[in-house]
């Protein structure tokens, strides 16, 4: 297979991955951020302490987190068809990706928000601020460096998930690698895909870390120091790509 044959395939697949990961990240952040914050607020000693709500959200998030993505995807097929009218294609893949991403991000948000100094919350309460003020003016801005780092981790995880989603007709780079590399023994295309994914993940990680660190350096003291994740292999993404290959 020559480069000119590969190029249109890669472009098409790249776009599909971008759509899947882009939308599902957006949805994961929009859904996961409030859930993560609620987990902290409703916890014991929290501003909205509510054991029942906390337990329920916690359980849902745990199940969402622990279910292997491929099973979640299959389990959600009816729901996906109901939302998008189909179970095939990038748009259909966004549904399970987002639903897998929400609890993933929510847990990271919870950890990040928990690390915000309780004294700051108290200070805002002493000024006469309500819970919403605390969330808006303290929890989110103070946890921002960690939240950025969490978003990076989520994007990378979703790239990994999207490779799996692709195999069920979602398209994308992962799917391309499987179809050509595994089914048709086009190892050239497969390696190019792997390289593109590797470079993309590194770039995202780099950009995320740089942003988080820049914010953190400005802020200094409070908020968790975002760890350098470049060398760690905890991301499902790397594992999934090699599995696919």
């Amino acid at each position: 297979m020559t480069w000119s044959e590969m190029q249109p395939l890669l472009e098409q697949a790249g776009q599909e991955t971008l759509i899947m990961v882009g939308w599902s990240t957006l949805l994961a952040v929009v859904g996961g951020l409030p859930l993560g914050i609620l987990l902290v607020l409703t916890d014991k000693g929290g501003l909205l302490q509510n054991t029942v709500v906390n337990k329920v959200i916690g359980q849902v998030v745990n199940i969402g987190r622990s279910l292997p993505f491929i099973i979640l995807m299959v389990a959600l097929m009816t729901f996906t068809r109901w939302v998008t009218g189909t179970t095939i294609g990038s748009e259909a893949a966004i549904v399970p990706l987002a639903i897998g991403g929400i609890p993933f991000f929510a847990r990271l948000v919870e950890t990040a928000v928990r690390e915000v100094d309780g004294g700051l919350v108290e200070a805002v309460q002493a000024m006469g601020g309500n819970t919403w003020t605390v969330v808006r003016k303290v929890l989110v801005p103070e946890a921002l460096p960690s939240l950025i780092a969490s978003t990076t981790t989520t994007i990378i995880a979703l790239i990994g998930y999207s490779a799996m989603a692709g195999t069920v007709g979602g398209g994308g780079l992962g799917d391309l690698a499987v179809r050509y590399g595994y089914n048709r023994f086009e190892s050239g295309l497969m390696w190019v895909t792997v390289a593109i994914l590797a470079v993309a993940i590194s770039l995202i990680q780099f950009a995320g870390d740089a942003t988080a660190r820049a914010l953190h350096r400005r802020g200094g003291r409070s908020g968790a120091a975002p760890r350098l994740r470049l060398l760690k292999t905890e991301e499902p993404a790397t594992a999934d790509v090699s599995k696919v290959a």
């Binding site: 501003l47 909205l48 302490q49 100094d117 004294g119 700051l120 108290e122 200070a123 805002v124 309460q125 002493a126 000024m127 006469g128 601020g129 309500n130 819970t131 003020t133 003016k137 303290v138 801005p141 103070e142 921002l144 914010l215 400005r218 802020g219 200094g220 003291r221 409070s222 908020g223």
Partner: protein, 350 residues
């Protein structure tokens, strides 16, 4: 300005109960600096946090500026609108400053004004004015991480003043600072108290803080106030533990069968002629074990520990003579001698 009556706070955690406040009656007058001192765990923080209801009292009432805050508390754990409004009129300063690291100094000071719904223009005018007041006009655009501890606390104080409060609460505001910086922050609080007529309730475990700026003080032990009053009244109270701690004089008796007296005199009263007069009149040898003159709460106070030969029973007449001269005499019993601060153990900053 601040009155608590029967204030009680019981913490319940995992079946265990801790009574942090046990019927505290506190009365802080308008325009004064009131210090609450006590050992770690005495309930000082619980007390100050109950004043603006950051902590719900288990029983008792809190009145600030004539408003019964406990009545505004409502039932649930969340603060209702009225309580939040009342809080915005009470400034609070914290031991660890509690500044938002994501905001500049100016934006930190503007935060309470944002909560009050002030416009951007009003906010920045007020913030810059306050920065000027606390002597940090050039740091408006810095981040808290770029400031020293003392500067951070100045920002904390400016922020606490943003809502033009009549009352300032301070929980160990200087405990994380070195002695030099502590002095400058205390001076600032004193100046604000004088200039703005601000009522200040401060919590501390350092006697020096009370000594340098407080008009009144209370000593807390195990959730109760065991002594309280204006500093001058306390110093004039025989046997006051606070007075002894505020103004310790040392000196051990030279042997048994001696009477040791602490002589306290205020302002211009001089002991020298009195002591020599005593010595001549009764023909006794008096040794001076220790003496000091200090300024406590803006008052000149002198204390002298003297020793008379013989037991107390033998010295009733000379002691009576000294009292007649208008001096305050505390008879030091032998067990307590050598222990200038019987009740308060100094701790390092935590």
């Amino acid at each position: 300005m601040i009155t608590t009556s029967g204030l009680t706070k019981v913490y319940r955690s995992r079946g265990r109960e801790v009574t942090a406040l046990d019927g505290v009656d506190l009365h802080v007058r308008e325009g004064e600096v009131y210090g609450v001192i006590g050992q770690s765990g005495a309930g000082k923080s619980s007390l100050i946090r109950c004043v603006n209801l950051l902590e719900r009292p288990t029983a008792g009432t809190v009145t600030v500026a004539g408003q019964d805050l406990t009545a505004l508390a409502g039932r649930g754990p969340r603060a209702g609108k009225e309580l939040r409004q009342a809080r915005s009129r009470i400034g609070m300063v914290f031991q660890h400053f509690n500044l938002l690291s994501s905001r500049t100094v100016q934006d930190n000071i503007e935060l309470p004004l944002e909560i009050l719904g002030k416009t951007g223009q009003e906010r920045s005018r007020k913030a810059l004015e306050l920065l000027d007041l606390v002597g940090l006009a050039d740091k408006a655009k810095s981040y808290p991480a770029q400031l020293s501890g003392g500067q951070k606390q100045r920002v904390g104080i400016a922020r606490a003043l943003a809502g033009d409060p009549k009352v300032l609460l301070s929980d160990e505001a200087t405990s994380a600072l070195d002695p030099e910086t502590t002095r400058s922050i205390l001076q600032l609080l004193r100046d604000l108290n004088r200039q703005l007529g601000l009522t200040v309730l401060l919590i501390t475990h350092e006697m020096d803080v009370v000594k340098s700026i407080c008009d009144s003080a209370a000593l807390m032990e195990k959730g109760r106030i065991v002594e309280s009053g204006t500093v001058s009244d306390l110093l004039a109270t025989p046997g006051s533990a606070l007075a002894a701690a505020l103004f310790p004089v040392g000196g051990d008796p030279s042997g048994d069968d001696r009477t040791v007296l602490d002589v306290t005199f205020h302002g211009e009263a001089a002991t020298q002629p009195v002591i020599s007069h005593l010595s001549r009149t009764y023909n006794i040898d008096i040794s001076i074990l220790g003496a000091a003159i200090d300024t406590v709460g803006g008052l000149q106070v002198g204390r002298m520990r003297i020793e008379l030969p013989g037991r107390y029973e033998d010295n009733v007449v000379p002691v009576g003579f000294l009292r007649e001269q208008g001096l305050q005499i505390d008879v030091v019993n032998n067990d307590a001698v050598g222990d200038g601060q019987p009740l308060l153990v100094k701790e390092g900053a935590k």
